[in-house]
């Protein structure tokens, strides 16, 4: 029920609170809270144990429901149970929760991207640009900066890989560079030896789960003397990292990013949760949001639209 | 009076890199016999005991226990065979209680659970037997070194072993505890135990031992099975390979002006303010029983502990004694009592251990090390102090205890200290080396150096000091000029129960 002072309280739990993406989601959720007059409680929860603790904390604060991006989709059952015990409504964002049978839990409404589809979009963007530059496919390599322990990371990069292979590039030209950390340095360190190993390949497409990883790959290529016109990096996120690359005077190998909308994920979800609590109108069980292609040419406009 | 042979070494040999520690040593000890082991520092006495303890394995030869050939592979193994060793260095757990330390490895237990009552009772029993007024529940780390040594002895007694070996047990004990130990060893002998006794103190050996085995440079030199026909000089000659006329060889000197004045200094470990003045070139002996406060007083002077009141004046000027560095800058030096804990840097080379103080003298501003000079100096010091080491680059931890002590003294000679605070500096040092150290001390005093010399060894204090300060229970109980210092007076001043003067 509502708290002592009658205000509705809604939790917003995210798995990696340090990440820019989640910071943005929180910011938009905060805007929703101001607009609708509810109180938002932000909690970061990096693993299953902390997710359960976060739910208990929300209950202690008399919240009525929460939106969550869980550190793992298979926490679904536990989250559902814990929410039920504490009488909290729950909605997922970004990553969809699944049950013990491996199927999505329909009782938990979800708003998110399709990681595979976004990845495919990145791959298609890259291959289209390669065609435009008239690269010799036989001398083009693809760097998949891999972080496969994260499911959406794997889906995104495999989506890109799939799209590129479907476009005719030989699978033997796709090389995995496993990264230890998802930051630029991690991408850099992973990419460097792989690029080194293939001096014969003149052109490179770089994919990764986020802008930072791809940027690391691009920087490594530059370090090996590959110039902007022989590298196509397509990131995912449309983050500040991508913005900074586009803002540089000279184009770099970082060609594009797929802009995801933290606004829809943050603002729309918390509003939906608010409506559910006060009006009892259950949100639709699945909403996919799409990504927008962001390049040097359009990034200012897209970001302005997003911030509006 | 003696029984069957309980313990025999048969051609035992042991070498370390660059050193033959033991070379085919053979001798045997009977039940009810106290066998003293004597020899200069590094002669191999401790190594002999460590082989018995299962810490080292001999390279050749064997040990027989009660007629049975044994090579011990671990301390447990040796203990199971009825052997107890009191090691030269203390081995105690500071944060555990006295009772727990005493019974470590042999806790009275029932199904794995400790029987606390039984533990306390046994600890209290042994402490009573040792004549020590120590609370079994006290934290061990709160005891003075001397009391810790008594706990170490108690540990071995509790094992109720057939063969008991003492490695310099009295080096940090004072007269009263030494008497207790003598009594206990007498009881053990009467009980038919075989006892090995290592000591550098002649009086003790003559008072306690039935027989003596002498080692020199790892070789077995002689056995003297009848003590009554042995003289100190003979024994010294056997150990050192030369004769030493009078180990103290006191040399009277004219004394200079007042050098150091200690004015009503107070601090931890002291029960009353201490006031003293010491003249240039003076050797001031400090005598007292275990825990009398000598070490604490020296540390206060040195700035290693903060005084809570009082002041120190040097040549009339006030001294800032707030840290050892300041004290060193003013010319002080401390040879600490706890060699292992406070003296040596174990894994560093002997040369490094000697050079460390000189390098850090506050007036030497050179950031880089002058290696050739340091090496030369270390070589000279090693020669001067006769430190027995394979090379100046050897890690000091591998030296015998006495040689480590010599290296620490060499450290301060190298740093050219003007006031030496020496806390039991001859602890564990052999007779020959002691007479050398005394000679150095006289030489230093003649050169105008001032020396405070704390010792629990009464003949030593009486032998070398110009004046003796006696401490009792953290306060000065008397000051005696050399001429008035008799053993009886010293003891009367030192003993807590004796009436004050």
């Amino acid at each position: 029920g509502p708290s002592r002072d009658g205000r509705v309280r809604i939790g917003f739990v995210v798995k990696q609170p340090e990440e820019q993406w989640f910071q943005s989601e929180w910011r938009f959720a905060g805007m929703a809270a101001r607009d609708k007059g509810f109180e938002l409680i932000r909690i970061g929860a990096a693993d299953g144990d902390r997710v359960l603790t976060a739910i208990d904390n929300l209950a202690a604060k008399n919240a009525s429901g929460f939106v969550i991006c869980a550190p793992d989709p298979r926490l679904g059952t536990a989250i559902e149970q814990r929410a039920r015990v504490n009488d909290l409504k729950v909605m997922s964002v970004d990553d969809r929760l699944i049950g013990p049978d491996g199927k999505p839990i329909d009782s938990i409404p979800h708003v998110g991207i399709s990681a595979l589809a976004i990845g495919r979009m990145a791959g298609e963007t890259a291959i289209a640009e390669a065609r435009r530059r008239e690269w010799d496919i036989g001398r083009t390599g693809v760097l998949r900066i891999a972080y496969d322990s994260l499911e959406t990371g794997r889906d995104r990069t495999m989506g890109a890989r799939g799209a590129i292979i479907a476009a005719g590039l030989p699978p033997a030209h796709v090389f995995d560079a496993p990264q230890r950390t998802t930051d630029t340095e991690g991408g850099f360190t992973a990419a460097d030896p792989v690029l080194t190993r293939h001096p014969d390949l003149r052109h490179w497409i770089v994919t990764g789960l986020n802008d930072e990883a791809v940027l690391g790959g691009v920087r490594a290529a530059e370090g090996l003397g590959l110039r902007a016109d022989s590298v196509i990096g397509v990131g995912i996120g449309g983050s500040g990292t991508a913005e900074a690359e586009f803002a540089k005077r000279q184009p770099t190998g970082f060609f594009a990013s797929i802009l995801l909308s933290p606004r829809k994920h943050g603002y729309d979800t918390s509003v939906a949760m608010y409506e559910w609590i006060v009006r009892g109108s259950r949100p639709p069980s699945l909403v996919y949001t799409d990504g927008k292609l962001m390049t040097r040419d359009n990034y200012r406009r897209l970001l302005a639209e997003e911030a509006a | 009076m003696s029984g069957d042979i309980l313990l025999a070494y048969e051609g035992v040999g042991k070498r370390f890199p660059g050193v033959v520690a033991l070379d085919a040593v053979s001798f045997s000890v009977r039940a009810g016999e106290v066998r003293a082991l004597m020899g200069e520092n590094g002669a191999g006495k401790s190594t002999l005991l460590k082989i018995l303890a299962g810490e080292h394995r001999p390279d050749s030869g064997a040990i027989t226990i009660g007629g049975e050939d044994r090579i011990f592979v671990s301390p447990r193994d040796s203990q199971a065979a009825g052997i107890a060793i009191i090691h030269q260095e203390l081995h105690l757990a500071p944060d555990m209680s006295v009772a727990e330390n005493l019974l470590l490895g042999a806790f009275p237990a029932c199904a794995g659970f400790i029987r606390r009552g039984a533990m306390r009772a046994r600890a209290a029993g042994i402490l009573a037997r040792l004549g020590e007024d120590i609370d079994p529940d006290a934290r061990l780390g709160d005891l003075s070194i001397g009391k810790r040594q008594m706990v170490e002895i108690g540990k071995a007694l509790l094992r109720d072993a057939r063969i008991i070996a003492f490695d310099e047990p009295t080096s940090s004990l004072s007269a009263r505890e030494t008497e207790t130990l003598k009594r206990i060893i007498g009881e053990l002998r009467a009980d038919g135990r075989a006892i090995l006794y290592v000591s550098h103190r002649m009086e003790e050996v003559f008072a306690l031992a039935d027989s003596v085995t002498v080692l020199r440079d790892g070789r077995h030199v002689a056995d003297y099975l009848d003590m009554t026909r042995l003289t100190q000089d003979q024994l010294i000659a056997a150990m050192a390979g030369r004769t030493i006329a009078d180990i103290y060889d006191y040399r009277p000197r004219p004394l200079g002006d007042v050098h150091v004045e200690i004015d009503a200094i107070e601090g931890p470990g002291l029960s009353a303010p201490v006031t003293l003045s010491i003249r240039r070139g003076e050797i001031l002996g400090m005598f007292g029983l275990v825990g009398a406060g000598r070490s604490e007083l020296l540390k206060l002077i040195y700035g290693a502990e903060r005084p809570t009141a009082g002041s120190i004046r040097l040549d009339g000027g006030r001294l800032d004694a707030s840290s050892p560095r300041r004290a060193i800058a003013a010319g002080f030096a401390l040879c600490p009592e706890d060699r292992k804990g406070e003296g040596i840097v174990p894994l560093a080379a002997v040369a490094e251990n000697i050079a460390i103080a000189r390098r850090n003298l506050a007036d030497r501003r050179a950031p880089f090390i002058d290696r050739p000079a340091e090496t030369r100096e270390a070589g000279e010091m090693i020669g001067l102090m006769r430190v027995k080491t394979a090379s100046p680059a050897t890690a000091i931890a591998t030296l015998s205890g006495g040689n480590q002590q010599k290296a620490i003294i060499a450290r301060w000679l190298a740093a050219d200290a003007r006031i030496l605070l020496m806390d039991e500096p001859t602890r564990g040092i052999d007779v020959g080396a002691r007479s050398e150290i005394y000679a150095h001390i006289y030489r230093l005093a003649e050169a105008g150096r001032t020396i405070l010399f704390a010792s629990s060894d009464m003949p030593e204090v009486m032998g070398i000091a110009d004046r003796i300060v006696v401490m009792r229970d953290g306060a000065i109980s008397g000051v005696l000029a050399r001429a008035e210092a008799t053993a009886e007076r010293l003891l009367r001043l030192a003993l807590p129960d004796a009436a004050p003067r």
């Binding site: 013990p100 049978d101 499911e151 | 447990r76 203990q79 757990a93 555990m96 470590l104 400790i114």
Partner: protein, 338 residues
Amino acid sequence: MAQSSPPLLRRLGAAGPLLIFVVLFALLSVFVPDFFGVRNMRGLVLSVTLVGTIATTMMLVLALREVDLSVGSITALSGVVCAVVIASTGSVAGGVLAGLAAGGAVGLVNGLVIARLKVNSLIVTLAMMEIVRGLAFLASGGEAVSIPAERFYELGSGTLLGINYPIWIMIACFMLFGVLLNRTVFGRNILAIGGNPEAARLAGVPVDSVRITVFCLQGLIAGLAGIVLAARITSGQPNTSLGLELAVISACVLGGVSLAGGVATITGVVIGVFIMGAAQNALNLLDVPTFYQYVVRGGILLAAVIFDRLRQAGGLRLARRAASPSPSQSSEKGSATA
């Protein structure tokens, strides 16, 4: 200085962590809305079960003058193994046993390498942290393994006398290892080895076997905690509990366990665990922004150890100055093993 003052001051000294805890708890109750309430208290206790359970054996490891960085990975591995076995055989008991066995086996390897080969425990368990994490990923195929046995969830969410099982398990560990440390020969041997390994060895304490046993226990308990966690989160997750080892060690140190070995009490550890839990709980309740949480969390740890140190030093100055040859406790003993 009266003769009676040292014991009194010493007792005050021993009560240091308790003092911090009481003050902290009082402050939080007053200043943090919703903190002091049945609902939040239960959540708080539940939130410390993972750290609390593992801290009991970490206490033993630290008392031994060793350290174990692999507990987070063990927790992940045993949860995954348990989940995989239940998922493939359907047997809950089999899964639990397999999880415990996995934890115990890692502990045994740690113990053997550390005790027999005399390798520094920090490095051994650092290496094992990586290896075991990798095994957890391999066992799970890189993703969380769902556990299709509702019965098993009961272990995580069921209650007895109104108290959740994970809390009971933590309490049981507190009691078990408290008694073990204080009342048994084994426990006192641990403290003796931590206090002075050489002395313990020379006194005939079976040093190696104590070391091996302690690391095995640590593995088993971390495994148990992993299984309970899997039951709570209804799946085995290979990337869970990253950084758990540091939280557990912090809790122990806050509770007065000395990293120099030889000093530990179970009450201290209990208090340390709750100081950490209460602080984190308050941060969440107060909605402190993430980035400030880092600073506050680190700041609390730092402040607590500094406070504890100053209090000790004050006690030292008054009552037992220079009890040890060195005035600096950190250098009182030779730090960890070589």
